[in-house]
């Protein structure tokens, strides 16, 4: 391998690493606030790519109608439970209505408009998953929640297949510019992906470190009883965590969809790689998850050069030594 090829692979690896980092953050947020391992995050990613691709091709995506139907169901549920507030009306009536209007009357073939609209359509599926699948089982065991998450993954993958068919789709890149650094071509898309991911990580840091809403989410993750006793609504915290994760997944779908075609069943695997990164971070620490994400991205990219058939084997086999090391370290720290 020449240094030139190595640098090109490194660039690819860093780009996908940035996306795995986003997904890992989404997983960590949802897990620490609600104890759910959000397996279907990858499916939301795929739904976002497919939604944006269809918008850019001039179509009206089925995810929009699905959102309208589920939001209506959520709204009726709130009304039946006598819990209608201005916020539930905004979330489950005004927001979907506005999106539908934007899709119908807006310039949906405009690449940027389509991207923003697609992200806005897919993000509410996070809170909806919480509302209909995980919140009713919020006190269930970790295993039960994981099984629910797996079930939802299959449901969403199936929905993706029905709404968009089996073929992969790509979205327009954010930029088609290329930067020449000597013999090495640095793609503008890669730079944009890394920059957006860095900005988002910074934004999340600010959100969790400096805003009361972010601190309330951390409080729920830190001590459930304590959060309840200071009046933090666990249902609301859960909805916010899922909204963040779904937003991050949708954004990732738009970013990665310009590099690789995404089909209804590709998202799961990408989500799993984010999961590997999160596991390397011990499902707890954000800097470690960042290192893990970059490691996964680079290993995968180098692996695809040497032994492309072994690419995923290398990445997922990495879990075994990492978990062994984490458990050894934990034992050394005196935990049982």
């Amino acid at each position: 391998m020449t240094p030139f090829v190595f640098l090109a692979l490194l660039q690819d690896g860093l780009t996908s690493g940035a996306i795995y980092l986003l997904l890992a953050m989404g997983l960590l947020i949802v897990f620490s606030v609600t104890r759910v391992i959000f397996v279907p995050q990858g499916d939301l990613l795929a739904l976002a790519t497919l939604t944006v691709a269809q918008l850019q091709a001039g179509g009206v995506p089925g995810t929009l109608w699905l959102l309208d139907a589920l939001a209506l169901a959520a709204l009726l549920g709130e009304i039946a439970g006598g819990r209608t507030t201005r916020r539930t009306l905004a979330a489950w009536l005004i927001y979907p209505a506005a999106l539908t209007a934007a899709c119908w009357f807006g310039p949906r073939t405009d690449p940027w408009f389509a991207m923003l609209l697609g992200i806005a359509i897919v993000t509410p599926f996070g809170p909806l998953a919480w509302r209909f699948v995980f919140r009713p089982a919020a006190d269930a065991s970790l295993l039960a929640l994981l099984i629910l998450a797996m079930a939802l993954h299959f449901v969403l993958a199936g929905v993706g297949m029905v709404l968009f068919g089996p073929d992969g789709a790509s979205v327009a890149p954010l930029t088609s510019a290329t930067l020449m650094a000597g013999p090495l071509a640095i793609s503008g898309q890669s730079l944009a992906v890394v920059a957006i991911c860095a900005a988002l990580v910074g934004g999340l840091r600010w959100f969790f470190g400096a805003t009361l809403t972010g601190k309330a989410l951390r409080a729920t993750a830190s001590d459930r009883l304590g959060a309840r006793l200071v009046g933090i609504d666990a249902a609301e915290s859960g909805a916010r965590a899922f909204a963040l994760a779904a937003f991050v997944a949708a954004l990732s779908g738009v970013l990665i969809g310009a590099v690789t075609p995404i089909a209804y069943d590709t998202g799961f695997e990408i989500g799993l790689k984010g999961f590997v990164a999160a596991i390397i971070g011990g499902l707890a620490s954000y800097p470690a998850a960042a290192a893990g994400a970059v490691l996964v991205g680079v290993l995968e990219s180098l692996g695809s050069f040497w032994a492309s058939a072994w690419r995923d084997v290398i990445v997922f086999a990495l879990l075994i030594p990492v978990l062994a090391w984490l458990s050894l370290r934990q034992r050394a720290a005196g935990e049982p």
Binding site: K215, R218, A219, D223, L225, L229, V230, G231
Partner: protein, 241 residues
């Protein structure tokens, strides 16, 4: 006597099929400290959880004569529980723990929150020194101060305290109880569960003895402190403050 703030009548609660409280009745008048003493496993913690709505309850719990609702409704109505486990946000700073204590009043003016924090720091200067430290790294006594401080940040009307003296040196116990007596003079009502019966009855206005999920004795705390049974069981030799 001023009006009743909290009325509990015939309260039953437990865990699944395990019944713990067998119909407990008690009152807390506005501006009073009411103590509940009793042996381990009597159901004191269960009583606090049931009043707060953390456990399903049967019987009557009234706040200002209106039926008490869910935990969220209790918090919104100015009832704050400091649980036996403290439930601090261990991986967050002292300052953030206090900030979140004011969460029920998050729509109030910022100056209001700053004033509450200044009050807490005046009561516990140690917390001001440690404000950037994680709650997990505080000493036992400091954690107790933080738990109480976080509760006070909500400017409660009724404070439910589950064993505020747990695991503390006698000097710090005295400090904490002095703070409680001081809070009463500012109009706060306190329902206090204590193993340390002497310290509790010393500052309380009224006391109850809970055994096996039932109130077996009650009275003004000065009288309780002279009751032969209470002396034999709870104030006898060995427990000095």
């Amino acid at each position: 006597m001023t009006g009743k703030l909290l009325t509990v009548a015939g309260l039953r609660a437990g865990y699944g099929s395990v019944a713990v409280l067998q119909g407990v009745s008690l009152d807390v008048a506005a501006g009073q400290i009411v103590a509940i003493v009793g042996p381990n496993g009597a159901g004191k913690t269960t009583l606090m959880s049931a009043i707060m709505g953390l456990l399903p309850r049967q019987g009557e719990v009234r706040l200002d004569a209106a039926a008490a609702g869910s935990t969220a409704a209790m918090v919104a109505a100015g009832v704050v529980l400091v649980p036996e486990t403290r439930a601090l946000f261990a991986d967050m700073s002292v300052a953030d723990n206090l900030l979140l204590g004011a969460y029920p009043r998050r729509r109030a003016a910022r100056t209001d929150r700053d004033a509450a924090r200044a009050d807490v720091f005046a009561l516990f200067p140690r917390l001001a020194e440690r404000r950037h430290q994680h709650a997990a790294t505080l000493s036992g006594g400091e954690r107790q101060m933080l738990a109480l401080g976080r509760a006070l940040m909500a400017r409660p009307r009724l404070l439910l305290l589950d064993e505020p003296s747990l695991g503390l040196a006698p000097r710090i116990v005295r400090d904490i109880f002095r703070v409680l007596a001081d809070l009463r003079t500012r109009g706060l009502s306190i329902l206090l569960v204590e193993q340390n019966a002497r310290a509790a009855l010393d500052i309380a206005d009224y006391g109850y003895v809970l055994e096996l999920g039932e109130i077996v004795l009650e009275g003004p705390s000065a009288e309780l402190a002279h009751d032969a049974r209470v002396i034999a069981t709870y104030l006898g030799t060995g427990r000095q403050t």
